[in-house]
Symmetry: C2
Subunit: 202 residues, 2 copies
């Protein structure tokens, strides 16, 4: 039926195939050790196609990172939709973030390789449109419900983001991953309560 593909369709199909296989190879070997030849072979094209669609290997990786980050953010948004208050939304979002980032593509591509390959600044630019945006919204909602002039939403967002990223990697390398995850799940609500507590004097 779709024997006769239009050019635009072919263009999109090849690009999608490159992104799909690039994600697999980057996940398996990491950015530095990924050979572009491997990617294009799996996508059933040649390196000419890759360099037609992307300026260089880094640009391909950046596109994959953006995709991965968007996927994480989507899962967070979906999970925190049915929340009853800001605290609940933050907790649900956090759990969704951990779930998503514990999967190999997100872990390897988004948490480990992206900051080094793209630079911390560029990585945070991308993340700021996705997962970090949801975290910032959660923090701001908390501070809207319980105003606390001592806490800067921006700083809290970055500190929490750093802590959560590290939590993912710690859970992943733990001897007993399930137990580690439970411990984190138990600890995080406690920390949120304490961090966002109103000053004792009120």
């Amino acid at each position: 039926m779709s024997r006769a593909k239009t050019k635009a369709e072919q263009h999109a199909a090849t690009r999608a195939a490159l992104l799909r296989e690039a994600r697999r190879v980057f996940t398996a070997t990491g950015y530095a050790d990924a050979a572009t030849e491997d990617i294009v072979r799996r996508a059933a094209v040649t390196r000419g196609a890759l360099y037609y669609h992307f300026r260089d290997k880094r640009a391909l990786f950046e596109a994959v990172v953006d995709d991965v980050a968007r996927g994480i953010a989507d899962r967070i948004d979906a999970a925190s939709m049915p929340a009853k208050d800001a605290f609940d939304a933050l907790l649900r979002g956090t759990h969704a973030f951990l779930d998503a980032c514990l999967e190999p593509p997100a872990r390897r591509i988004y948490l480990i390789d992206a900051p080094a390959a793209l630079g911390w600044h560029r990585w945070r630019e991308i993340d700021g449109r996705h997962a970090m945006r949801t975290l910032r919204a959660g923090v701001e909602a908390m501070l809207a419900e319980q105003p606390d002039p001592a806490l800067s939403p921006e700083i809290m967002t970055y500190l929490l983001s750093g802590a959560l990223n590290e939590a993912v990697l710690w859970i992943n390398e733990a001897k007993d991953e399930k137990a580690a995850r439970r411990e984190i799940d138990r600890t995080l609500p406690l920390l949120f309560e304490r961090l966002f507590a109103r000053t004792r004097a009120r």
Copy 2:
């Protein structure tokens, strides 16, 4: 006077020169884009010497990372020595950590490139002997003074480490670095107070 160098001296001198120049080049260009030829030229040897002293480029990088991490830990230890209590020690140590990591070599080599180039697990192994060891000691001292069965020292250490690492990179990329640093300095004691607070009911 030292015209006639013994073999052991020569060995140590060349190794030290390689480490010194490698640190410079890795800091300037990052691990991936650093050419071993650049390093050995500055050290006034050839690549043969490099591969005699180190198994490969990664091993050289790992040795540099270990050096950098040791330097950070030394500064933390020195800064937290004259502390009057656990809280004071944690704060002093944290400030020393920020000061040390804000310098380019630590930032680029230790915070950005090391996790990707060595793998998170290996990076944490090294860090666990240095900066993270001091942080863990600080956390454990806090929990010794104010016991809190709800807080696992290991988890608190990893979460705080992640938050502090991110704080460094955030300060570094801020438009006004001095102001960003002041904001972090103002926020951290607040967070420590709240995180390590005994449960309200006592």
